[in-house]
Symmetry: D2
Subunit: 143 residues, 4 copies
C-alpha cells in the first residue's frame, strides 16, 4: 500500500459519516481515486434502490480526494453537479474520480458512480463533475 | 397537519436512509418544502462540521419533494448541482426548497440549506438547483 | 448613473462579444445586476426561439458582474449550471443576478433569465447558479 | 460524408446564431460529436480571450447533438453545467461531446472544449455535463 493511499485511508477513517456508511478508499493516486460503499438496507430509499444522497456522498467524497491528490491534503469540495442515470442496487457502490485540471488553488474533477452486482458486473448509475479548493487560500467554506 | 404533509411524512418514513439520518419533513406544500436533519456526531466529517454528503442528501431530498408537490408522488431527482457556502455546525440542518417551473413531466427547483444554532439563528450553508422528473413518463432512472 | 454602473457599462463595452450581441448593463449594484440583450434574428436557433447559447451568455455574464460587485473588478466566472425552462422569444432577454454568498476570493450567485414581450410581460426562461472567482488569487483560468 | 453528418450540418446551418459564429459540425455519430468555432475578434472578451458565452454555446450545442444522435432529431438541451479551466485563445475552439447514458426520453452527455493553436496543439479549456431531452415527450421548454 502506498503512503498516499495509507494517508487517504486515515483521512476517510476520521470522518464519522464515512464510517457510518462503511465507506472504504480502495485507490488513491494522481491518476485515479476509488471509494467503495457496501449496499446495505440502511442506505436505501423507498423502492429498494440506494438513496440518491448516498450516491451523492460517494461522488462528492471521491471528487474531494481526486482534488486532494493534486492540491494537497487540506481541500474541500466547493461545488459539484450530479446526474443520476440508473437505479443503483447490488452489492456495492464504486465511485471513481479523475482529475481534469488543477491550478494552484483549485482543481476540477469528474466522477462516475457504478453499482456492482454479485458477479462483479458494473452498471454506471451516476456521473458528477465538480470543483475542489485548497484551504485556506481559497476557502469555499470560510467561517 | 394537511393531507399532503401527512403523505410526505409517510414517504420519508419509508426511506431507510432518511430514517438513519433522523430526517423529518416539516413543511410540504406547493409553495415550500422543508426537511430537517438533526446534527449528530455520526453525520460529521473530520473537522467537526456536517459532512457534505449529508448536506447534499438534504438538498436532494427537499428538491425531490418540491418537484413532487407539482408533479405528483412518483418522482425522482434527475440531476442537481450544489454549492457549499459555509461549514455547517449547530443543532440541525434545514433544507428549504421551492419550485421554479413545472412542465408536464419535469420540474426545476431550488433549495437553500441552513445550519441552525442553539438560539435558532440560521446560517446559509449551501445552495442547490436541480431537475425532478415524473415516473414512468420520463424515467431518469429507467432500468 | 452611479459610478459602479458606469464602470460596469465600460467593462461590458470592452467585450467584443457583448457588443456583437448588443448587450447592455442596466443595473449594477451589490443587490442586483441586470443585463439586457435585444432579441434579433441573428441570435435565434432553428425554431425561431433564442439560441440557448445566448441565454447562457446572458446568465454567465450577469453572474460575473454579481460576483464582481462583491469581490472587485478582476473576476471571472469559474463555473455555473443552467436549467432552460421555457423557449425564449419576444423583444429582449433580461438576465437578473443576485449574490448568495461572498468569501474573500470567491462568490456564489444565482441568475434568472426572462424573455420580455411587446407589452413588457416577463416569462422566466432559464435559471442559473455559479461561482465567480477573484483574479489572480484563485485563478480558475490560470494560464 | 455520412447521412447523419449531413443531416447534422443542415440542422446547424438552420441556426442563425450558429451561422453568426461560423460554427461547423465536423463529426456527428453515436460515438462522438465535434463542433468547431473559429476564434475571431468578435467572440472575445476584454482580455483578448474567447468569451465564456461562446465556450458555453459550443458546449451546449455539442451536448445537444450528442443527445440527438441517441434520441433522434427533435431534442433540446434541458440543462448543463460547465467549468471553465483555462483561458481560450488561438485559431479555433473544438467542442467534443460523448454520450454517457440514454433512456427513452432523455440522455446525459459530457463535453470537453479545447482551444487549438496555430500548430494544431490542443488545450482543454472547459468541461461540461448535461441532460438532453426529446420533444415533445418530455418538453423542457414546453410553451
Amino acid at each position: 500500500m502506498t503512503d498516499l493511499l495509507n494517508a487517504g485511508k486515515q483521512a476517510l477513517a476520521a470522518q464519522p459519516f464515512s464510517q457510518l456508511l462503511g465507506a472504504a478508499l480502495t485507490e488513491f493516486s494522481a491518476e485515479r481515486v476509488e471509494i467503495v460503499v457496501p449496499i446495505t438496507q440502511q442506505i436505501k430509499q423507498q423502492n429498494g434502490f440506494v438513496h440518491g444522497g448516498v450516491i451523492s456522498y460517494a461522488a462528492d467524497n471521491a471528487l474531494t480526494f481526486a482534488g486532494g491528490a493534486a492540491l494537497g491534503a487540506a481541500v474541500v469540495t466547493s461545488e459539484y453537479k450530479i446526474n443520476y442515470l440508473k437505479p443503483a442496487f447490488g452489492d456495492k457502490l464504486i465511485a471513481r474520480a479523475t482529475l481534469l485540471h488543477a491550478g494552484k488553488n483549485q482543481a476540477v474533477c469528474r466522477c462516475d458512480v457504478f453499482a456492482v452486482g454479485a458477479e462483479g458486473e458494473e452498471t454506471l448509475c451516476a456521473a458528477a463533475q465538480g470543483t475542489i479548493v485548497k484551504l485556506p487560500d481559497c476557502p469555499a467554506r470560510d467561517v
